[in-house]
């Protein structure tokens, strides 16, 4: 057996073992990884749309959203929004009523700098919701902007803008498409 085939075989065997081990680990951890994400989304929905009692998942032109229902009437929409932050995507969910007035915003996942951008989701001691996100309540989602409606976080202008701009863009797009 030539040296080349021998080397290839050894490397191949090691890679095969690694693949098997990883496949098993992936299957074992997959449900555990997805379960809290689903739960988080559900509890976020309730906190940003306290007036609704049920939610039904919909998609329109690749925008994922939930219809917020009170009994059988639609009272608003919870829109999945992805913003491009300082160091990665910011996944959030924004609740608006039928006129596009923001009822609440929740951040599901982000990787902003701790101590700076991460303050977009910081809860002050003794409070129940992040202080940055509270600013969004009652503002019109279609025209919301940093400086005018939202005070940016010191040292984290990019993160603050990313959240605000993404909400404005996605919600506005969805609402105008729904009206048509």
């Amino acid at each position: 057996m030539s040296q080349l085939t021998k080397f290839g075989l050894i490397l191949g065997v090691i890679c095969l073992t690694a693949t098997l081990v990883l496949a098993v680990t992936y299957e074992v951890t997959k449900p555990k990884i997805e379960e809290p994400l689903k739960k988080e989304e559900q509890s976020a929905l309730k906190s940003i749309m306290p007036s609704a009692d049920s939610f039904s998942e919909k998609t329109l032109d690749e925008i994922g959203y939930f219809e917020a229902l009170k009994g059988k009437t639609v009272v608003g929409y919870c829109v999945r929004v992805v913003g491009s932050g300082y160091s990665g995507y910011i996944r959030m969910i924004a609740g608006v009523d039928l006129n596009g007035i923001i009822q609440g915003v929740a951040i599901l996942e982000h990787s902003e700098t701790p101590g700076l951008g991460a303050k977009i989701n910081e809860i002050r001691p003794g409070e129940s919701e992040p202080w940055f996100l509270r600013q969004f309540k009652g503002k019109n989602a279609g025209i919301i902007a940093v400086k005018r409606d939202i005070d940016a976080i010191t040292g984290a202008t990019i993160s603050s803008k990313a959240v605000t701009d993404a909400i404005r863009k996605t919600v506005d797009e969805l609402l105008s498409k729904l009206k048509r």
């Binding site: 680990t25 951890t29 990884i33 160091s87 101590g115």
Partner: protein
Amino acid sequence: MAKTKLLGEFVKGLWRENPTFRIVLGLCPTLAVSTSIVNGIGMGVAATFVLVGSNIFVSLVRNIVPEKVRIPCFIVVIATFVTIADLFMKAYAPLLSRSLGMFVPLIVVNCIVLGRAEAFSSKEPPLKSIFDALGMGIGFTWALIVISAIREALGNGTMLGFSLSKTFEPPLFMILAPGALLTIGILIAAINYFTHKRQG
């Protein structure tokens, strides 16, 4: 005799050959994640797991793997353990996994791990390699804890998330990259100064 030797392999990583302060390896994750103590501990534990796993495996196959393809083999072994650590962290410690973000998968390129595989476990039996890995891992962890405690206290005004003082306005740069470089530089300088002084 054998016992003291094993202990020696363990202890050397804690101080004399501490990966962060003495060998000065693996600085990239050290600079990046040492912003809070929790991050430091999480990174340390994940890196220790990868070190122990890959050291055992590399040591077991050290006589089968030919010299010429050893590096790709080591990388595959290390990458496997890193992915296992990453998946388990995502499943069982999702908050920690989120705050460490990209840096868990990046343990693959941590010089400490490949360094130990190349310099130690590819030449030594498994038991010795385990002790070497544990020493190096714990040495890395305590170094991270010290650095992140200083940075968290000065840069964010907290300790393990608890607020230290209400009137102190923390200087932001301690949480950012310059703070990491300054902290590590001053610590290494201090350690060098005192070891030299002791040696006379």
